[in-house]
């Protein structure tokens, strides 16, 4: 079991005492810092070299770091115990959005609290895997069919509410984060196969009854962007042009013509990877992926070493969801997947996603800093 030896070595490096006192995982902190710095660096170029977005993003990140360290102070059991309440509040907020939400750009995703606006779907990204983890951690593994059904119901209600906003991207992220818990909890292979074919079967139903016209358009656009060069196809043509023209080494920082001359839409938000690809080339893309994979890998190690089933499931789901962010974003910008509103985690500009992500990493830190009780299960 050399793998566990490796894990222990990593653990001992951090120093148990310090971790236990401040609940800070310095390895995780360092990787996140590197990622955030990289993100700000690219954002500067992507936002027409104005410091405005960089400053705001840095503020979000600092808030995120602070939030993460606060969340890390709570014991894992706290989240396990309050998961149901947390989940219920998220559902109420999501339902409230449908009735009292603030509309922007044709979608109703925000709740106005008077002093601030927030996006309940962001809470759902944490609350759903948390609830599913709490639910399944008390059930026998591998989960029985009725437990699978229960877990799916927990996932489906918020996913449905979010899809109504409509926000397909977040809905997918929420659904997958819950599904990952099921998967990590040892969902039987026959159920996995069933889920796979079920998804295939559901696709036409989704197409006919759930997806909005603009969402269908995005799928069609993916298949042949040239059909609508200056409409729906514009984004994807410009982003692939930006990526492709970057080549191996890129055009240089702030030298990307596609992004600097505004051919690339949403260059500082969802399409920021195209700026990176154009200015730093394939090497830049590989570099960023390496940081992401290091982060995800490290989070997986935290999950494997977690002291309770809840913690394991929660940590694993957060790590895999983070990967889904990265995968979906990089795929949609490069034309592998339809354009759904998924940002590139910790690089795309945007406060809500950053706060949510750091909340997740806060929980991971809490998990990683819990005292090791090998052999015990409580």
């Amino acid at each position: 079991m050399y793998k566990y030896d490796f894990v222990r070595q990593l653990d001992s490096k951090g120093g148990d005492r310090r971790q236990n006192v401040l609940h800070i995982d310095f390895t995780l902190l360092t990787i996140l810092l590197v990622l955030c710095m990289t993100g700000l660096f690219v954002l500067y170029s992507a936002s027409e070299q104005s410091l405005y977005y960089v400053k705001r993003q840095a503020t979000f990140m600092l808030t995120g770091f602070a939030g993460m360290l606060i969340v890390a102070q709570f014991p894992v059991r706290f989240w396990q115990r309050w998961a149901a309440v947390f989940y219920a509040s998220a559902l109420i907020a999501l339902a409230a959005v449908l009735f009292f939400g603030v509309e922007a750009k044709g979608a109703t995703r925000w709740l106005n609290l008077g002093f601030a606006r927030f996006q309940p779907s962001e809470i759902a990204k944490i609350a759903v895997p948390m609830m599913v983890s709490a639910y399944l951690s008390r059930r026998i593994i591998p989960p029985k069919l009725k437990h699978v059904a229960g877990a799916l119901l927990i996932v489906a209600i918020p996913a449905f509410l979010i899809i109504r906003q409509p926000d397909l991207g977040t809905s997918i992220l929420v659904f997958t984060s819950g599904f990952f818990v099921l998967f990590l909890a040892g969902l039987r292979k026959r159920y996995l196969a069933g889920a796979f074919f079920g998804a295939l079967a559901a696709a036409p139903l989704l197409w006919l009854y759930v997806m909005r016209d603009y969402q269908k358009q995005r799928v069609l656009t993916l298949l042949s962007p040239e059909d609508d060069r200056f409409g729906a196809g514009w984004n994807i043509i410009q982003s692939t042009t930006a990526i492709g023209s970057g080549g191996l080494a890129g055009k240089g920082w702030t030298e990307g013509t596609q992004s600097q001359l505004n051919f690339l839409p949403e260059s500082h938000t969802d399409f920021i990877i195209a700026v990176l690809a154009e200015e730093f080339g394939l090497l830049g893309v590989i570099g960023l992926c390496t940081i992401y994979l290091l982060l995800i890998g490290y989070c997986m190690i935290i999950a494997v070493n977690a002291q309770s089933q809840f913690a394991r499931l929660m940590a694993g789901s957060i790590s895999l969801t983070f990967f889904i962010y990265m995968f979906v974003n990089m795929s949609m910008v490069s034309g592998l997947l339809p354009v759904v509103g998924v940002p590139l985690p910790l690089v795309s500009y945007g406060g809500s996603a950053i706060v949510t992500l750091f909340f997740g990493f806060g929980i991971l830190m809490a998990i990683s800093s819990e005292p090791k009780r090998i052999g015990s299960w409580r």
């Binding site: 008390r138 059930r139 026998i140 593994i141 591998p142 437990h147 990952f180 998967f183 990590l184 909890a185 040892g186 410009q238 692939t240 042009t241 930006a242 990526i243 492709g244 023209s245 970057g246 080549g247 191996l248 013509t257 596609q258 001359l261 505004n262 051919f263 690809a277 080339g281 394939l282 893309v285 590989i286 992926c289 994979l293 995800i296 890998g297 997986m300 999950a303 494997v304 089933q309 394991r312 499931l313 694993g316 895999l320 990967f323 995968f327 990089m330 795929s331 490069s334 034309g335 592998l336 052999g375 015990s376 299960w377």
Partner: protein, 634 residues
């Protein structure tokens, strides 16, 4: 705490979880590989395609209009110039509320409804950051007002373009022509590449004839634009080649004298340099200011020009076709002599009438009332006193075929080949011509009419000038040209292919007769010989506008002035070494001797007085004066 009879085995839980994590890691790595392969495919395999696409996005070729060639007269006087014209533009993006801005501008400059309407139309199609023109041809005062108020006029901009300007205004309009905006019909006939960036094209006159020479070659600029088409920077440049500068034979001072002499009349004058065929002066009156046509003439002004009974738009020198009248007598006499139809000694009796065998109706001499020219009228006297009966008699003897064939050598009945568009041929009738056009045979009566330059015969003032130049030069068939040099390189004179080889004694005889028209006591143009210091050879002519019955007397007091006879004159000087030849007509001027001949004298006096002038200093100062003044709308 465990519900649902679950038996939790932490080791099993952990083992199963670890297996699932291992599986997840595999999936993560697998999906990451797919994504990275996609980026590899785009960035390495298809890199060059996307570089091309990216460059197509941002790099555009912009045309840079060449500067149109200038036109100078023979002394370097500037005739066609390019001057900055100032336009007031609004940049909608930075102006904000354009209606409000226009209202504010209106209080300062008064903007017309038409300007506003045009602006609105263009604004709709504009890209926001691109300037949209509001008012053209700002005056110096208007520019000053704009400059002073610039702090409250955000979003406005004054731009300068080069516009054609004719500093001599109406002096040479019919000859120079003018440029104007390219219209729909022209756009089909031009090479669009050559006219990228140019809105103007030569419409008539020299501007049209030498369009290709004057135009120059369009330049290009490689510019980088952003997604909205805004130019960010210039990447490369291929400078335009300016059009060639033309120098023409026209002598502005001579032109001015001729124009002034004719300015109260409807008429035309063409003066030719006998040695080179260069057109020294070419006038058609009334004239007008060609600058009106450049930036768009108003409908009212245009209608005024178009509908005027004086027809100012009509180039009479090139396109006016008139019966030449007696001005052809020296030529017809010369043809008869050279072809031995009669000799120098030949004379006739002129009772004032000419009877043709078999025709009852007589042909009148113009002085039939005085009883004709009497006995012993020879060719010289017939020219000097303009005896019609002599030419009726000899015309029939010479015959239509010979007159026609030989007259063609002197430039009658066909285009002269001058470098101007739209020249008229005139009519030098032949038997075939009458058959084709009148469906009738040629009668001797037609020859008789023609022998004094009436009947079917028509000539342009240019043809008359060419005819007198060829008589003056003893048969040198030089072709009239306006162009003297291109970019300082002289153009060699051209000659018609068929030479005129007549005996010197006949040239001498005709020259002397034409000198005597002016200098002898009985000459019809003797009135202009007073104080003359050189020998001027000429011939008067009168062309009937309406036909008068043989019994009726022509009495101008009883006829509408528009129906008075046209007055003509052809001349060359000095007779012993001819330099300048001319032809001119004054419409309804009645008598060549009284109206037309004095104008010829004035023009020739001016030319010979300045024959070897050094006016360069004078011209240079005039050039400098015009170079500074901008074009203003008025």
């Amino acid at each position: 705490m465990l519900r649902d009879n679950a038996i939790s085995d932490p080791r099993q839980e952990q083992r199963l979880f670890s297996m699932r994590v291992m599986l997840s890691v595999c999936i993560v790595l697998g999906l990451t590989s797919i994504v990275l392969f996609r980026y590899y495919d785009l960035q390495v395999n298809r890199h060059l395609d996307y570089v091309t696409n990216s460059n197509k996005n941002r790099i555009h070729i912009r045309s840079v209009a060449p500067t149109r060639g200038l036109i100078f007269d023979r002394h370097g006087q500037l005739l066609a110039d390019n001057r900055p014209a100032f336009t007031l533009n609004i940049i909608p993006e930075s102006a904000g509320d354009t209606d409000q801005l226009i209202a504010r501008l209106d209080t300062l400059l008064s903007i017309s409804e038409k300007d506003i309407a045009r602006f609105k139309k263009r604004e709709k199609r504009s890209k926001g950051f691109a300037p949209v023109p509001l008012k053209y041809n700002l005056t110096e005062q208007e520019r000053a007002i704009l400059a002073v108020n610039s702090h409250v006029l955000q979003g406005t901009e004054v731009s300068a373009q080069l516009m054609r300007f004719y500093p001599q205004r109406e002096l040479l309009t019919h000859t120079l022509g003018y440029v104007g905006r390219i219209n729909d019909r022209e756009i089909k006939n031009i090479d669009p590449e050559s006219y990228r960036g140019t809105d103007f094209i030569g419409k008539i006159g020299l501007e049209k004839y030498y369009e290709e020479t004057l135009l120059g070659k369009v330049g290009t600029e490689q510019v980088e634009t952003d997604a909205r088409g805004r130019v960010m920077r210039v990447l490369g440049k291929n400078d335009p080649v300016p059009g060639s500068n033309l120098t023409i034979h026209i002598d502005s001072q001579l032109q001015r004298v001729a124009l002034d002499a004719l300015k109260d009349e409807r008429g035309a004058l063409v003066a030719i340099d006998v040695k080179t065929g260069g057109i020294l002066s070419m006038v058609s009156t009334p004239s007008y200011d060609p600058n009106l046509f450049i930036s768009g003439i108003s409908q009212k002004q245009y209608d005024g020009l178009l509908n005027s009974p004086d027809r100012p738009l009509f180039n009479r020198a090139l396109r006016g076709q008139y019966p030449p009248g007696s001005t052809v007598k020296p030529l017809f006499g010369l043809i008869g002599l050279q072809h031995k139809i009669y000799d120098i000694d030949y004379s006739i009796y002129d009772p004032g009438y000419f009877f043709m065998e078999g025709i009852k109706r007589p042909w009148r001499d113009h002085n039939a009332d005085q009883g004709g020219h009497g006995y012993g009228v020879d060719l010289a006297e017939a020219i000097i006193e303009s005896c019609d009966v002599f030419f009726y008699t000899t015309g029939v003897k010479t015959g239509i075929d010979l007159l026609s064939k030989e007259s063609a050598l002197f430039g009658l009945g066909d285009v002269t080949g001058i470098d101007l568009p739209g020249e008229k041929r005139g009519i030098m009738p032949t038997r075939a011509w009458k058959k084709d056009n009148r469906r009738q045979d040629w009668f001797n009566g037609d020859t008789i009419n023609m022998s004094i330059g009436q009947g079917f015969m028509l000539t342009t003032p240019l043809q008359l000038a060419v005819m007198s130049a060829r008589i003056a030069s003893r048969g040198k068939t030089v072709i009239p040209k306006l162009l003297k040099s291109v970019d300082g390189k002289d153009i060699a004179p051209e000659f018609a292919p068929d030479p005129i080889q007549y005996d010197d004694k006949y040239w001498n005889y005709i020259h002397q007769a034409m000198v005597d028209v002016v200098h002898s006591k009985k000459g019809t143009a003797r009135g202009i010989s007073e104080g003359i210091s050189y020998k001027l050879a000429g011939k008067t002519g009168t062309a009937q506008v309406i036909s008068i019955h043989e019994k009726d007397k022509y009495d101008s007091s009883k006829i509408d002035k528009r129906k008075w006879d046209h007055a003509l004159f052809v001349a060359f000087a000095p007779a012993d070494n001819p330099q300048i030849a001319l032809g001119l007509i004054v419409e309804n001027g009645e008598h060549g001797s009284r109206t037309a001949a004095p104008i010829a004298r004035k023009v020739i006096d001016t030319y010979l007085a300045n024959y070897t002038p050094n006016k360069l200093h004078n011209d240079a100062s005039r050039l400098a004066k015009y170079a500074l003044a901008p074009i203003e709308d008025n």
